[in-house]
Symmetry: C2
């Protein structure tokens, strides 16, 4: 039984990614990274709830608020308005946090090296996640190579991206197939206790559930795309 | 005039590395990362003093204390005794902070992307720095490749390691040649206001000055290797 560090933001994708690790018989170690995003507290609550669901013993909740100090993203910089309706626009969205996934994976790798874990699971999605450069296959391959060069010789660690080529619809279906606690997840970029239903993350999620023909189990202020509840 | 993010711990190597960036006509942006190391406060003081010396406008002091939460190193984990006399022992020393440089460079890259900087300077030293896996040339090459894959298409960023192949003696001489403020630097692993002179970092530094035939301008509690003051 090998340990897998699972990056769990508390959102839909990371929950299903962790469910895949569990389904493969790994001992999950859950890592949450807060970085001053608007919904940090609500995400941590979702993280703990999902960790409780899977009875995870090894949990680490850390702060990388320098990403907020650095700014450059609508997710962390209050001077940049949160995008709505950016989903179908080409290019890198305003919500891109510069090099965020590299920072998350570097933290995960440090912890994995101490735990002697063999995998890091990250719920990155290439196609649906709207053009973030650090969400693509070649980035993860380059990161894996960097791990091989930069860790102790006895460290054997792979990055697993089980959702990378899935669409949101398929992630919903995969989550249901694996019995993942989708009702405990949180995806909204701006709500506090109830998801707004309007931000790009809510819209992407609601669209995924609608295409899967499944009712999203969490409450929303509004469900602008209709047809799914 | 292009911006260069300089990772400045406050130690001798990072000071000389920043001096190289300045000598090449870069506009330096100084980044300090505290990670719960025993001497964090003293290092920050050295960082500010060196930044004042170079009249650096863009300064960022951030906290990555998750490295302390993760542990695994004598530098951050009080349960692991600080090494003395490990210098000539083969293998990875107890002061190795797992994957530290990857974490530092990930933070530097995020900031560099926002600043539109063209270089990141890091004072890593391969030969003298005693076998840390994330201090070697192939690691930095792999990191550069990962930057190319994981940042925006318009980001053009290289990692500069001007000291990588130097010995401590040559770093001292390079610092003096460039007029670097070596008297403001701090290298000790365990002191608070006066360097201990006994930890591996002090011994390595004192040995470098001695071999260079130069008196180290900072005070020490003791100078065990003698001959240099």
């Amino acid at each position: 039984m090998s340990i897998a560090v699972c990056l769990v933001s508390g959102g839909l994708d990371s929950c299903v990614s962790a469910a895949v690790a569990v389904s493969r018989g790994k001992v999950p170690a859950f890592l949450h990274v807060g970085y001053g995003q608007l919904t940090q507290e609500r995400e941590e609550q979702a993280f703990e709830a999902i960790a409780d669901f899977y009875e995870v013993q090894r949990r680490l909740c850390v702060s990388a608020t320098y990403l907020e100090q650095i700014g450059g993203s609508a997710l962390t910089d209050r001077a940049i308005p949160l995008p709505e309706g950016e989903l179908d626009r080409p290019g890198i969205p305003l919500s891109y946090v510069p090099f965020r996934n590299a920072n998350l994976l570097a933290i995960a790798t440090s912890w994995a090296e101490v735990l002697e874990a063999r995998q890091i699971y990250i719920g990155a999605v290439e196609e649906d996640s709207s053009g973030y450069p650090d969400c693509r296959g070649p980035f993860f391959e380059a990161f894996s190579e960097m791990i091989r060069e930069g860790t102790k010789p006895e460290t054997e660690l792979s990055i697993e991206t089980p959702l990378l080529d899935l669409r949101k619809k398929d992630i919903v279906l995969k989550g249901i197939e694996l019995g993942a606690p989708l009702h405990l997840t949180w995806s909204c970029y701006q709500g506090t206790q109830v998801a707004c239903g309007r931000c790009d993350s809510c819209r992407l999620r609601l669209r995924g559930f609608a295409e899967a023909g499944v009712i999203d189990p969490i409450p929303y202020e509004t469900r602008p795309e209709g047809g799914c509840d």
